[in-house]
Structure formats: structure tokens, C-alpha cells
Amino acid sequence: MMVWFTLLLNSVWAAIPAVGFGMIFNVPRSTLPLCAVGGAVTYGFREVLLFNHLSIELATFIATTAIGIIGVFWSRRYVMPRPVYTVPSIIPMIPGTYAYEMMISLVTMNSDGVTDALLSSFIQNGLHAISILFAIAFGLVLPSMYYTKRKKPII
């Protein structure tokens, strides 16, 4: 019970960045609530998958594919290009911390000399960041690739 409550709370926290970044990208005002819902759903879904002991890359991939498919429906319904919904929704999953750790270890290696611990931290964090980024990108691309198979545009 407690776990589900935490998960719900985290999803609500994840909705805030979705709205904020939607504002940076200047999405139309009417879509902001849907962006928030998208961010919350995507993050919550990933948390559930992580809780079930999936790896973080796979969980991210499945969650982004889900939001990609949801975005297709929303964009049909509200006549909107899909990235309006999908990109703000995936923002909470950007692997900022991993990329940051990678860069820190790079800088430290430069100033203090290369050690095994630093090198392994660099490689590991970098691989994590890159693979999560690719998972996000591929998950978003997959639904639209399915739909471009047909000649008709989505909206």
C-alpha cells in the first residue's frame, strides 16, 4: 500500500517537469493538462516496471513506446502534431544524473590522473546514459514507424 502511494506521489512530481518543459517548447495552452497526464503516466509506468525488476533501459523503452501509442490517439482526437504530447512526457526520464556523473569523472580524470575506479565510473555511467537515451528515442520512433507504413498521414 505504501509503495503504491509513493509511486503515485512520484508520478505527480513527474507531471511538473512535463508541464514546465512543455512551456519551454511553447506548446498550445490547451494541451498542457494532457502533457502533465502524459508525464505522470509515463513515469509511473516506468516505476511499476522497475519495481518488477526490469532493467532501467527496458523499462524506459516500454514506457516510451506506450506514450508514443497514446500520443497517436491524442493527436488524432485533438488535431495536434504528436511531438506536442510525447516530448514533454518523456522529459522526466532523461538520464541527467548519469550524464552528469560521467562528465564529473571525466573532469576528475583530467585533473587528478586516471584511476581504475574513475574509469569504470566513466564508462558505466556513460553507457547507462546513452542506452537510456536510445531507449527513449527508439520507443518514440516505433509507433510512428508503424504508422508511416501506411500512406495516409496520421492526422
Binding site: G20, I24, F25, P83, P92
Partner: protein, 236 residues
């Protein structure tokens, strides 16, 4: 027919310059490179070729949305060139006001830090850093500096403020604060767009945008490194 295609092709030009997706009609050939669009309109035996240069613009999804709406309206009532031209002239940017966007971005980055396990002082420091960073970014953008310089300087300011958390052990999770306060600079749209382009067959567009996104990321890490070197943070 001529007028209708003229309208359609202009829509293609504008939509594709943003999204890299061509809404191809049979008699319109379009070729995209990251900085320009070559467009050939074929009507009967004659053809018109135009080249347009695409200027760098900040991302603005509401303009894209309006163009798509006009495009759909034009499909429903073809040959209505006057309507299309009028509505194209009516497109407006519709930006969010500064007093709303600055705290929202601060709150977003603070939410990031919370999600990654920062404590409450860290939360507020992130809020402050990201808000000031957003203000700097808006101020520099409105003065028409290059986007790369804007990103580097914003990252610099963000890191400077976020490193407050190391001051007298104000926050025990300084690393999370530092990393999440620069998250407002993540070039999400260029990355996703470049992936979409490349997967759909616009390889050169994809590469162009990917390079742009990577350059932006590099510049922001340069700003972070500068700030760290200046302060000589020993938090890690």
C-alpha cells in the same frame, strides 16, 4: 490547381522545415538539407523551383500546430488560396509570459531533484538555480546571442548557484542538486526530431539536427566545467 498546389507546397515547406516530415503530393518534389529547402512544384508541363533558406528559430510548437490546422482546413476546401494566405498571415507566436514560465521551470527542475532523492534544502536551491538560469536564458535569447553561447552561459550561472549547496553543508545531496539544476538545458526536441528524421529516411536532416543537439549539450557542459573550475568544488 496551380494555386492550390502553391498553398500546399508552402505548407510542406514550413511543416517539413520544423518536423522533417514531408506531406508529399504527387507533383511536388522537395529536398531538405538542415539549412535550406529546395522545392519543385510541377503543374502540367511547367515546373517552378524555389529554394528557401531556413533560419534558426526557437522551438515553438504552437506555430507548428497552427500550420497543421491550416493544412487540414486547406485539404477540406481545396483551391481556397485566399483563405490559406489569410490564415498563414495570422499565425502568431503566442508565447507564455515570463512571470509564469520562470517559476514553472524552477519548479520542474526542483521536481527532478526531488525525484532523484534530494533533500528539501536541495530542492529549494535547485528551484532558485533553475529560475535564475531561465531568466538568464530568456534575457540572452532576447538579445539575439547565438544559441550556443546562451546555453553555455546559462549552464555556468546555474552551476554557480547550485554549488551553494556545498556551502557549509547546506544540503547533503549536492551532486543531485548540481545535476538537476542544469536539466533545463536538455535539448529534447532536437534529439527526438533527429531520431525521427533518421529513422524515417531523412538521413542528412537527422545528422544535422543530431549535430546541433550534441553541440548544444557540449556547450552546456563547457559552462558547467567552467563554473566548477572557477569554484574548485570538491564535492565528489
Amino acid at each position: 490547381m496551380l494555386l492550390e498546389y502553391g498553398a500546399e507546397s508552402r505548407l510542406i515547406e514550413q511543416i517539413s522545415s520544423r518536423l522533417g516530415v514531408a506531406l508529399g503530393c504527387t507533383s511536388i518534389e522537395i529536398s531538405l538539407i538542415p539549412s535550406a529547402i529546395v522545392l519543385t512544384t510541377l503543374i502540367g508541363d511547367s515546373s517552378v523551383t524555389t529554394t528557401r533558406r531556413a533560419h534558426e528559430q526557437p522551438i515553438n510548437m504552437s506555430i507548428v500546430h497552427q500550420i497543421v490546422t491550416i493544412c487540414i482546413a486547406a485539404e477540406q476546401s481545396p483551391r481556397d488560396i485566399m483563405m490559406v494566405e489569410r490564415s498563414l498571415a495570422n499565425i502568431h507566436a503566442n508565447p507564455y509570459p515570463a512571470w509564469l514560465i520562470v517559476p514553472m521551470i524552477g519548479l520542474s527542475c526542483a521536481a527532478f531533484s526531488h525525484l532523484q532523492g534530494a533533500d528539501w534544502p536541495g530542492f529549494w536551491i535547485t528551484f532558485l538555480a533553475a529560475s535564475v538560469g531561465m531568466m538568464v536564458r530568456r534575457a540572452l535569447s532576447s538579445r539575439n546571442y547565438s544559441l550556443l553561447i546562451v546555453f553555455a552561459f546559462t549552464a555556468f550561472v546555474c552551476t554557480l548557484i547550485a554549488s551553494l549547496s556545498f556551502y557549509h553543508g547546506l544540503s547533503s545531496t549536492g551532486r543531485v542538486v548540481l545535476s538537476s539544476s542544469v536539466l533545463l538545458l536538455v535539448p529534447g526536441f532536437p534529439y527526438i526530431n533527429s531520431m525521427l528524421d533518421a529513422f524515417k529516411g531523412y538521413i542528412s536532416m537527422g545528422w544535422g539536427r543530431w549535430t546541433q543537439a550534441t553541440l548544444l549539450t557540449l556547450m552546456s557542459s563547457l559552462g558547467i566545467m567552467l563554473a566548477m573550475g572557477l569554484l574548485d568544488i570538491k564535492g565528489w
